[in-house]
Each structure stands twice: as C-alpha cells, then as structure tokens.
Amino acid sequence: MHSKRHTLSRRIARHWQLYVFLLLPLIYLLIFHYYPMTGVQIAFKKYSARLGIWGSPWVGLKNIQKFFNSVRFTTIVGNTLRLSLYSLIAGFPLPVIFALMLGVMRNERYKKVVQTITYMPHFISVVVLVSMILQMFNPILGIYGKAYSALFGTAAPDLLGSPAALPHIYVWSGIWQSFGWDSIIYVAALAAVSPELHEAAQIDGASRFQRVLHVDLPAILPTATIMLILRTGKVMSIGFEKIFLLQNDLNLTTSEVISTYVYKVSLKASVPDFSYSTAIDLFNSVINLFLICTVNFISGRISETSLW
C-alpha cells in the first residue's frame, strides 16, 4: 500500500551511501562472474569453436544424460560424497577447538611459536604431501611399517592398497595439513571478544574452563556456523591432484572420484569435450547449491545465524 512503499523507498534513500559502497563490487561481480556465467549454456549445446558459445547448436540434456549413464556414475558420485562429507564433518571441529585452546594459553611466546608452526603445513604442496604420506606408510621402510613390525612382529599390511583405509588416510592427512591455517579466522574472532565479558564471568566465580564454554565459544560460534555453511557449498568440488596421486589399482573402488574419472575419460578422448565437462561442472554446482541452501535454512531456524 501507499505507506509501505513510502517506507521502502525511504529506507533505500536513507542508505544511499551504502549502495555507493556496493557499486564497484557489484560491477566487478557482473563483469567477471555473471557475464561469463552465460557460458554455462554450453552444457546444453555441442560446442564448436568456430560457432562460438552463442552460435553452437542445442542438444538439450544429452550431455547430462551421458554423465548420468556413465557406467561408474554411482560409484564415483558416492566416493566423492564420502570423501567430502567425511572431510567436512571430521575436519570441522579441530580448528575451532584449537583456536579455543590457543586463546587459553597464557605464555605469549609459546603461543606464537605454536601458531607459526601449525599453520606451515598449509603451504606444503600436494605432491610433497602425498610423497610424504607414501613414505611414512611404506610397510617396509616407513615409520608405520617399522613401528608395526616392532609391535606385532609380522609385516605390516599395506594401508595404501586398502580401499577401506584410503578415506581415512585422505581425510586425516588433510586435517593435519589445514587445522592450523583454518584456525586463524577463529583466533581473530576470539581476539575481538571484549575482556569485560571475561572479567564479569570471573567475578561470578567461573573457572577458566567454564569461561571457555560460556564466553569464548559463544563468541566464535556465529563465525564457525558461517564457515560450516560455506564449506557445504564445496562438497562436490573435491580437489583433483591429491586424490589422483593417492590412487592406485588396489584402492580405486573408494578413490575414484568425479574429477579423476572425468580426467581419465578426457585423456582417452584426448579431445577436450568442453560441453561434457561443463555439464558435469553444472551438475556439481547444482548439488552444491542445494546443499548450501538446505544447511543455511536449517541454520537459520536453529540459531540466528545464516548467510542470507
């Protein structure tokens, strides 16, 4: 009605400066993200460089169907989800807990050293990480092999040849590599907690542990929730290189994921079927979108925190 519209346009007018702030970022967004996004239509076309994106002929759902009909479809999607969700759920708590622990530490020097050391694995390249894993888990020469033989007397089983063990190796090596780096944002969030809150709690007789639970944790919970929501938006986008390097003939049943499968097919075809890979990416994106919206919605209901 008249008054409602009046209020809305008033509100917009009042915030005009904020819209100016948004102007440049929005222009960037439109040019560099939304304009190329129109290229997604290639998923429904048969792309020819000669005809270009807009001129190539439509083929409808053929490319997506081709993907759904791939013989290994259920296996690769299943493996992708298993590795991704496992990484997400297992990897999420540790950076938060670690940040809380860092917040408790009183020796500043010790704390700085610890922080610097723990965030360094983030910089190790995937190639080196995997070769270190392979080395460590070698049943004859690796630490794992030697410890096992020493403890049990028999030769150690080859964990990297075991489809059952592979997800664990993949996930926990990832957690090892990233927990320090991932905790940085939480440490920053903790730094902004007002000391007055802590003082108040202390006056009330709370132990340090209780303060962690009742002051620190609630302070970073909104940040943590947002991080979790953001992560679900990447579930289908498992990286290629690490899993590719960890794959071998014996663990392939759990290590073949969408990206490695598509790579092998494109290698055989040795002609980039651009429409096909776009279709698969689209499939991944839609799943990601669905998941993130769901989690965001749930989070919005349970807590006050949500993305949009």
Partner: protein
Amino acid sequence: MIASVKHRKGGERISNRDRLFYLLINLFVGLLTLMVLYPLIYIVSSSFSSPAAVSAGKVTLWPVDFSLRGYQAVFEYKSVFIGYRNTIFYTVVGTLINVAMTMLAAYALARKTLPGRGFFTFLFTFTMMFNGGLIPNYILMKDLHIINTVWAILLPGAISAYNLVVTRTFIQNTIPDDLLEAAQIDGCSDTQFFFQFVLPLSKAVMAVITLYYAVTHWNAYFKAFIYLNDRNLYPLQIYLREILIMNSMDTESIMDPDQMEAMQGMADLLKYSLIVVSTAPILCIYPFLQRYFIKGVMIGSLKG
C-alpha cells in the same frame, strides 16, 4: 563449587583447577605441535641434503650429506628473480585491491537494515558455486583486451565471495548496534562511520583477509599460465615449476653417466627445496599480521 584461591599474582587469582586446566591445554597443544613439527623438519632437512640421499630415502630427521645443491639449482636459474619481483608486485597490489573491495562490500552487507541485503549476499555467494568455466572466462579476458597484461592477474578474483562472507560476519558480530546508533545520533554519516569506526575496529579481520588474499596471490600459478605469454610477467610459481621439470630425469632418454649422476635425485630433492624457497617469504608476513589479533581491540569504543 568454590575453587580455592591459591595465590595472587598481580591481581589475578589462579585456582588449582584452573592451573590443571592450563597445564592440560599446554600439553595437548604441544602434542599437536610436535605432530606437525616432525614432517616440517623433515622437509627442511631434505632440502639441505644431497640428491642421492633424498632419492634413497635416507633422510629421517637431520640433513644427510649436507649440500646446497637444491638451492643452487633454484637460484642458478636467473629467471627466478624475475619471478620473485613479479609475484611481489602482484601480491602487494592485488591484495590492496582485494582488501579494499572486500571491505567496501562487507560493510554495506553487514548493515542489517539495508534493503535487499539478503539478495545481494546471495548474488555474491552464488558465484562460489557456479561459474562459466575456463573458455567463457578466457573469452571475456580476450574481449576486455587484458590477456597478457598484469590486469589479467589483478582483476579476476578481486573479491573472493568466501572472504567477503567472513568479513561481513565479523563486522556484523563485533561492531555493536549501540555504537552505530550513538554515532548516528551524533550526526555521523554511513561513510564517516566506516572510516572512523569500522575500519579501526576491524583490524583483526582485515589482517585475516590480507593474509588469505596474499597467500592466494603468492601461490598463484594457473591464472598466470593461462592468460600470460610474456615471460617478463610470469610469477614465481611458474619458474619454480619449470625448474622442477628441468631437473626431472627423463629415464627413457640416453644420458651420459656424469650428467646423470649430477641430475639423479634432483627432482626428489628439488621438491623440498622449492617449498622452502617459495614459502619462506610468505612466512615472514604472518608475524606482522599477528599483532592485530591481540585482545582488547574493542576497548574504549563504547565509552562516552
């Protein structure tokens, strides 16, 4: 339950229970740190060992057959310095652009009363999941005539939706509404509020996104290799990659023994030296940013 007060230390009371807690925390943290530390030492030690030792897997903790061959191979390749120069440029300028754009957008989107806030946020986060793919992006760069220029590196990715959300969350949760109200009553405009209050109070999150963006720029490889042709513009990672390839022994080609001995194991050794070479500079940034994570950033803001 009342904890027994053991002693006073400059105004702070440390109970027995708290002492135990601190001890446990320190132990646990120490354990985690050691688990991280050992492989790191291994990498540094390997980088200072001889190629043969690394290849044979002889390195366990300390360097074996101490040698600087790994580093020699890197710095002999003069282009590495061009790479360093370019990467520093991309990192500094790029991060400045990133942080500026991100702060602008995050501030606007953090205002709960902004009409269309949810819509705009969705617009940004949507791009995290959907993108046109390599070819459409390449065509865009071509149409903008920025292929083979520094802008092809600096402009795409100017705002990371992920970092934007992080920043918005931070601003939203740590700048209290009371502060805004008080400022508005005093006649402060949105722009003034941004520069006088939000920026100084957001040092912690600015430090975080600076770090995130800087590291992304530092490690960037793909954008450069797709969009650039001029070797003078190549960042460090491309040259490092070339060094690694150059030293990878092609076992199917015929080689003479002296050269073979010199090159054997170089690829294995270089993997480690390259990590140290490419990471060491970035490791220096963190301590500078760390001081922004100090507690008490908010003190004084609510007074008066």
